[in-house]
């Protein structure tokens, strides 16, 4: 399924998708695959960053990166299918992400105060 969609997106250029593409005329030639590639790259960067860094703030930023990568993919698909609900959804996600960022940062500040360290290794008490 996914394969066929991707193939369709490549063989049939953006114009075929209809009038919507005219709004992004300067970016003619940029296909859905490009957006998805950026999204995947961002997600991979976020994931790798989350796994390899120990700084809680950086790890938090990495989660944000993965979040936005998902957002990009969603918007790209929404644009591809000319479906507004995807974009609406991303707006909501952004709102939630903003709230979550506020909470998460507050948590990180509290954790820092308790251990005088931002390292995630300072919090290993639950190991078996």
């Amino acid at each position: 399924m996914m394969e066929t969609t991707l193939l369709a997106a490549q063989t049939v250029p953006g114009v075929a998708a209809g009038a919507g593409m005219d709004l992004v005329a300067p970016m003619a030639g940029v296909t859905l695959a490009h957006y998805l590639f950026v999204s995947a790259a961002m997600f991979a960067l976020g994931l790798v960053g989350f796994l390899v860094r120990r700084n809680l703030i950086v790890m938090f930023l990495c989660t944000e990166l993965m979040f936005q990568a998902a957002g990009i993919a969603m918007i790209a698909f929404a644009r591809y299918h000319l479906e507004m609900s995807g974009q609406t959804f991303v707006i909501f996600v952004l709102t939630v992400a903003a709230a979550e960022a506020a909470l998460a940062l507050a948590l990180v500040v509290l954790l820092f105060r308790m251990r005088d360290s931002l390292s995630s290794e300072a919090w290993q008490e639950l190991k078996g």
Binding site: M1, M2, V52, S120, Q124, E125, L126, K127, G128
Partner: protein, 770 residues
């Protein structure tokens, strides 16, 4: 329901027959009269003591510090005795069953036979009422005696003592009055429990605790036999109720009478043997007699009531009650005869060599119980029951007199430490009561014990093949007279002298153990020389400085018994004398008349063939009736046993009174070394306890150690293994919970990646296939 209606029907039938008239059997030779419905108040006999027991328990709960429990007990027991007397007159020789309440009823089908019934019903006939009369009567008197005897324990063990005492009378009443074997068994175990509780009354004293456990465990062996007998009874006869059981057993007894012993199935012959084993345990017969002498660790009133007069006769009652079953077997009664004879002789020989007067009385009880069993076995249930009755009175008298001595002399029971008690001020009634008891036990002519013992001896000589039993019993009678009067001559006659015991109150104290050991392993030469001749002289005060180590005895005054002990002893002594009169009541004695109307005699008394049938297996002459050198044994025994008894007394007089000037030594001391090991072995109770210890206790202990090790290694090992499993699994999985956030994230990512991969592969596969 069905049972009650049967009772009513039976009552009508009985009224038509004429209640319990022995002549009614003439038309139907062996038919038992149908029991009628008894009055409800028979139930008061067991339930009054039960109520008193509960009341005493409440006294203990409310920490009553007075003699209230004793008065409650005396009142309740006296009332129970009154009810028993009323029932005796009401019964007038008949048989009645009083249904108290439905107790056990298992039904596994609708057929008439598919039910197991054991009601809380009371079977009152002359046999059980006779038992109830002396049980409640003696219990009343002994409770009165105990009210004074136990007075040192007021506020501590007093309530406990009387609660157990009353519970004993309740259990004994259930045992005797129960109309089925299950209720009998309940009472049987109940008296065993009360016996255990009362032997271990001084629970701080290790020897008392050991004795209590010994009594309980040895009784379990006998009880197993009884229980098996009850099981087999139900298996074969389909009922445990006496009324039906006796009717069902009658055809077998008839078969035995007619010489068709082959027609009696083995199981029917086995039942009385098993019941007899139960009786051997409870009545302290060889080889299960070892618990009774140790049971003397209990308070003396308990020894008198439970371990002399009533509970130990439960075995005799059991056999008398189930006599129809015993008559249906040609092995059970000879077994009972030989066990009884061996026990009588063995216990008498041990009793001759003991120094603890209570223990001598205990062995004498064992020995006399052997007589009773022999009496039952040679088909004189009259003799056996008469002996139970007379023995109950004179042995209670003897025990209570010994108890009074023990009470007055600070627990002193060693006959080498007391002398001339009869002549000390205030001890006359005790001494005379003791004399009456001794005369009875020794079988001096015209005493009750003389008549009851002669009945058994004569019947043993009459019964073919049982003459050896008669000779053994005759020998035992001589030994009995000797050891009985040995006690009397040593303790009550002779020069006035006493050494008080270590015991201040009969209560367990630290030095009590030392005292009892000293008595048990008494050796004439091992006593401290410095203690000699305390209290010699008329003032009867044991003051002497040599008694320093027994502090508190420096100014010891023996305290003579008060009104309760003296009164009870006087009543019992008079009753023991009057009991002889029962022999002259009616045609062949009062007891004979009583038993004629009960199952204990009815079946075989109808014609004389039973004796011949059971005992002619070897002689082959069914009509033979034994004689004593050509004389009628009944007449010959009047003289022979009297002479034997008087010889025994004469020997005791010579060895223990003649030329005796001090408590410690008598002419017997010259004789003992010449007897060599025999005297020592007899004093060591023929080392039966040691034998049991070696043959039974030690191997059991070894086996229990083996099982203990098995338990530790195998059973505990298995349990621990299963306990270990979760722990092992846990330690295997524990590393996954390492506490590192990145690790968890990596695992999550890997998991998601794996799922995605699977989905992708599935999608590819689906794409390829489609």
């Amino acid at each position: 329901m069905a049972i009650e209606s049967l009772h009513h029907a039976a009552a009508g039938a009985l009224a038509g027959l004429g209640v319990g008239a022995p002549e009614s059997g003439a038309s139907r030779p062996f038919a038992l009269p149908e029991p009628g419905a008894g009055p409800w108040w028979v139930a008061l006999i067991p339930f009054l003591p039960l109520a008193a027991s509960i009341a005493c328990g409440l006294c203990a709960a409310f920490k009553v510090k007075t003699k209230l429990p004793a008065w409650i007990s005396v009142a309740a027991l006296a009332a129970a005795f009154g009810v028993a007397v009323a029932m005796f007159t009401e019964l007038a020789g008949g048989t009645s069953i009083t249904h108290a309440f439905r107790w056990i009823e298992f039904r596994w089908g609708s057929e008439p036979g598919q039910v197991f019934t054991a009601n809380f019903s009371f079977y009152a006939d002359n046999l059980s009422i006779l038992w109830m009369l002396f049980v409640t009567g003696l219990a009343t008197l002994i409770a009165l005696y105990a009210s004074e005897y136990m007075s040192h324990d007021v506020g501590t063990g007093y309530c406990r003592f009387f609660a157990a005492f009353n519970l004993f009378v309740f259990s004994m009443s259930c045992l005797v009055l129960g109309d089925n074997l299950i209720l009998l068994f309940l009472g049987w175990e109940g008296v065993g429990l009360c016996s255990y509780l009362l032997i271990g009354y001084y629970y701080k004293k290790p020897s008392a605790v050991a004795a209590a456990k010994k009594a309980f465990i040895v009784n379990r062996i006998g009880d197993l036999g009884l229980l098996m007998g009850i099981f087999l009874t139900f298996v074969h006869f389909g009922t445990v109720e006496f009324r039906e059981l006796f009717a069902l057993a009658e055809p077998y007894a008839q078969a035995v009478r007619q010489g068709r012993i082959g027609d009696v199935p083995g199981i029917v012959q086995l039942i009385p043997v098993l019941l007899a084993i139960g009786a051997f345990g409870k009545s302290a017969q060889f080889p299960l007699y070892v618990w009774l002498p140790d049971a003397m660790e209990g308070p003396t009133p308990v020894s008198a009531l439970i371990h002399a007069a009533t509970m130990v006769t439960a075995g005799v009652y059991l056999i008398a009650r189930t006599y129809p079953l015993f008559l249906a077997s040609d092995i059970a009664l000879p077994l009972v005869a030989w066990v009884g004879a061996i026990t009588a002789l063995l216990a008498a020989t041990i009793g001759m060599a003991q120094f603890d007067i209570k223990r001598i009385m205990a062995y004498s009880t064992v020995s006399q119980l052997g007589y009773m069993f022999c009496g039952l076995a040679v088909l004189t249930s009259t003799g056996a029951v008469f002996h139970v009755l007379t023995h109950a009175f004179f042995k209670a008298t003897l025990f209570l007199a010994c108890g009074a001595v023990m009470h007055g002399f600070a627990g002193q029971l060693d006959l080498r430490k007391l002398s001339g008690v009869l002549f000390m001020p205030g001890w006359l009634i005790v001494g005379l009561a003791m004399l009456v008891g001794c005369l009875n036990l020794a079988g001096v002519p015209l005493t009750a014990g003389y008549f009851s013992k002669d009945l058994i001896l004569a019947e043993a000589f009459i019964t073919p093949t049982m003459a050896p039993i008669g000779w053994i019993l005759l020998l035992t009678a001589g030994l009995t007279a000797y050891y009985t009067f040995r006690v009397f001559f040593r303790v009550f006659l002779g020069p006035k002298e006493f050494h008080p015991g270590d015991d201040h109150h009969g209560e367990a104290e630290t030095d009590v153990k030392h005292h009892s050991e000293q008595v048990e392993h008494g050796d004439p030469h091992a006593e401290a020389v410095g203690e000699k001749a305390h209290g010699v002289g008329d003032d009867a005060h044991g003051a002497d400085d040599a008694h320093d180590h027994h502090h508190g005895h420096d100014h010891f005054h023996p305290h003579p018994p008060g009104w309760a002990i003296n009164g009870v002893l006087a009543v019992l002594a008079i009753a023991s004398i009057l009991a002889a009169g029962l022999y002259f009541v009616g045609d062949k004695g009062w007891v004979d008349g009583m038993l004629k109307a009960s199952t204990a005699q009815q079946i075989y008394a109808a014609d004389g063939s039973h004796r011949a049938a059971v005992f002619t297996a070897t002689t082959g002459t069914p009509e033979a009736k034994g004689t004593f050198f050509g004389f009628d044994p009944h007449k010959a025994m009047y003289y022979v046993s009297a002479v034997v008894g008087l010889i025994g007394i004469g020997v005791a007089f010579y060895l223990h009174y003649w030329k005796r000037t001090e408590a410690e030594r008598s002419l017997a001391d010259n004789l003992v070394p010449r007897l060599g090991p025999i005297a020592v072995w007899a004093q060591d109770k023929w080392r039966v306890d040691e034998l049991y210890d070696m043959v039974i206790v030690k191997p059991l202990r070894v086996i229990s150690h083996v099982f203990h090790v098995f338990d530790k290694l195998v059973v505990d090992g298995l349990v621990n293994l299963f306990g270990l499993l979760p722990r092992l699994i846990g330690s295997a999985l524990r590393p996954s919970q390492h506490g590192q956030l990145q690790g968890y994230a990596a695992a999550t990512a890997a998991g998601v990646a794996f799922v995605l991969l699977v989905v992708l592969l599935l999608a590819v596969g689906a794409g390829v296939s489609s």
